[in-house]
């Protein structure tokens, strides 16, 4: 099994290297894997059209809105330990404490996180991840990447995504981590995220000139905002 995984990784690495481009536009936009990324983007779009979007719409049509809100609350609550750990690593103890309070309150009073009582108590949700933690530590994002099923990312954010698995409660419990239960969780998570992004997907469809480049640009600008590097408007381009 281990050999198979290694072989898979080697094939992926080979594909990545062979898909590298020397086109100046790609290098300038820090997207040397553009040919491979575009192929994965097309695959993701096809998968979305065939499976993910229909599943998300079926879920939206069948499950009543209050229940969907409860599921979203519970999923966000499960992610709070990840946010907590990253806030600590970013040197934000006040925000980390607020996040721990949210987790405690929503888990106990909010029935396992189904109800977001913490927001009603004016403890607002913080959101961060290990990719942003690395960014705060000065690690550059590295080349742009499109991950199968997961969408836009960068080398730094992909590594961050991998690390963020460890403080997540689904990793703590062996019965979840080592069984089919983890795939049920991932399926529900994917459907919820797809519904959250539905407006973005529709906007891409309506306004994009090149959907691949638009998504890349939107992703990078969002990450720069989350990192707080785009707040002071100093880096805006000239119009002359």
């Amino acid at each position: 099994m281990r050999h198979l995984r290694l072989a898979g990784l080697a094939i992926l690495a080979g594909l990545a290297v062979s898909a590298c481009t020397t086109r100046p536009e790609s290098l300038q936009t820090n997207d040397p894997l553009e040919p491979l990324n575009r192929a994965v983007f097309s695959f993701n779009s096809a998968a979305d059209e065939a499976v993910i979007a229909p599943a998300a719409y079926a879920y939206r049509d069948v499950v009543p809105a209050p229940a969907r809100t409860g599921v979203r609350n519970a999923l966000r609550n499960l992610n709070e330990p990840v946010v907590f750990a990253n806030l600590l690593l970013q040197g934000r103890p006040g925000d980390a404490f607020a996040t721990a309070s949210r987790f405690g309150l929503n888990t106990i009073v909010g029935v396992g996180g189904l109800f977001d009582v913490a927001s009603e108590a004016n403890i607002e949700r913080r959101d961060t991840d290990f990719g942003l933690t690395l960014g705060r530590w000065g690690v550059e994002s590295g080349p742009y990447m499109v991950l199968p099923f997961l969408g836009p990312s960068s080398v730094r954010d992909t590594f961050g995504r991998f690390v963020d698995r460890y403080p997540h409660p689904t990793y703590w419990v062996e019965d979840v981590r080592e069984t089919e239960a983890i795939w049920v969780y991932r399926g529900i998570f994917a459907i919820d995220v797809r519904l959250q992004l539905d407006e973005t997907f529709q906007s891409l469809e309506r306004s994009a000139i090149d959907p691949y480049v638009q998504l890349r640009s939107v992703y990078r600008q969002n990450r720069a905002n989350a990192l707080g590097t785009a707040q002071d408007y100093e880096d805006l381009p000239d119009f002359d």
Binding site: E25, S26, A208, I209, S217, V218, Y233, F239, D240
Partner: protein
């Protein structure tokens, strides 16, 4: 020595006066930029509300919107911006064709959004002066019960024809910057051929 002190005092006062005047004129300009965005956005909202109440038909609404575009936005400046480095040394006929098609594409995108209007209003909440004549006007689009409020920032530049919007930031994404990445990518993939972007825009409008 006294002479020197007097001279330096005069220079200091003069410097303060220039600084104060500059800040005052910046403050006035920033206020003007805020008023400009509020006024122009309100005109569009008034037209949309009239359309929703049946006082305006769709054709008149679209004509009204097209007329307002050049008052609100500096379309030639935006068009030059989205072409990036490919504008320099480009064939004038190709540039002219691109300008016409890009303008039509941009208007088409926003025209399609007009139908989604559901009673939102715009409230200007402040501004930042980046440089003389270069402002960021902050605003919030109030959903008024039709979803969540959305922060929208406007890049306003003052020029020969007064103030004009050159870019808008919606939920952290600058629209003209994003369009520039798309356009320059298409032109770059076509080895610098601007007509490739013109064709792509035409295709997206079909």
């Amino acid at each position: 020595m006294l002479h020197l002190i007097r001279l330096s005092t005069i220079s200091l006062v003069a410097a303060f006066a220039v600084l104060a005047f500059t800040q005052l004129s910046h403050a006035q300009d920033a206020g003007e930029a805020e008023a400009f965005v509020q006024r122009e956005a309100q005109q569009v909202i008034d037209a949309l509300q009239a359309y929703n109440q049946g006082e305006l038909d769709e054709e008149t609404l679209k004509r009204n919107f097209r007329e307002r575009v050049d008052i609100l936005a500096d379309v030639p400046r935006i068009t030059n911006f989205v072409l990036g480095r490919y504008r320099r040394g480009a064939d004038e006929a190709e540039l002219e064709e691109f300008r016409g098609v890009f303008r039509e594409f941009a208007i088409n995108v926003y025209e399609r959004e007009l139908g989604n209007y559901a009673g939102q209003t715009l409230e200007v909440t402040g501004s930042v002066t980046r440089a003389p004549g270069d402002f960021i006007v902050r605003s919030t689009v109030r959903a008024n019960g039709a979803g969540e409020d959305v922060p929208v920032n406007w890049r306003v530049l003052s020029g020969d024809e007064g103030m004009k919007v050159v870019d808008a930031e919606v939920l952290g994404v600058w629209l003209a910057q994003t369009q520039r990445e798309e356009i320059t990518s298409i032109i770059g993939n076509a080895r610098g051929d601007i007509s490739a972007a013109t064709r792509a825009l035409r295709q997206r409008m079909q």
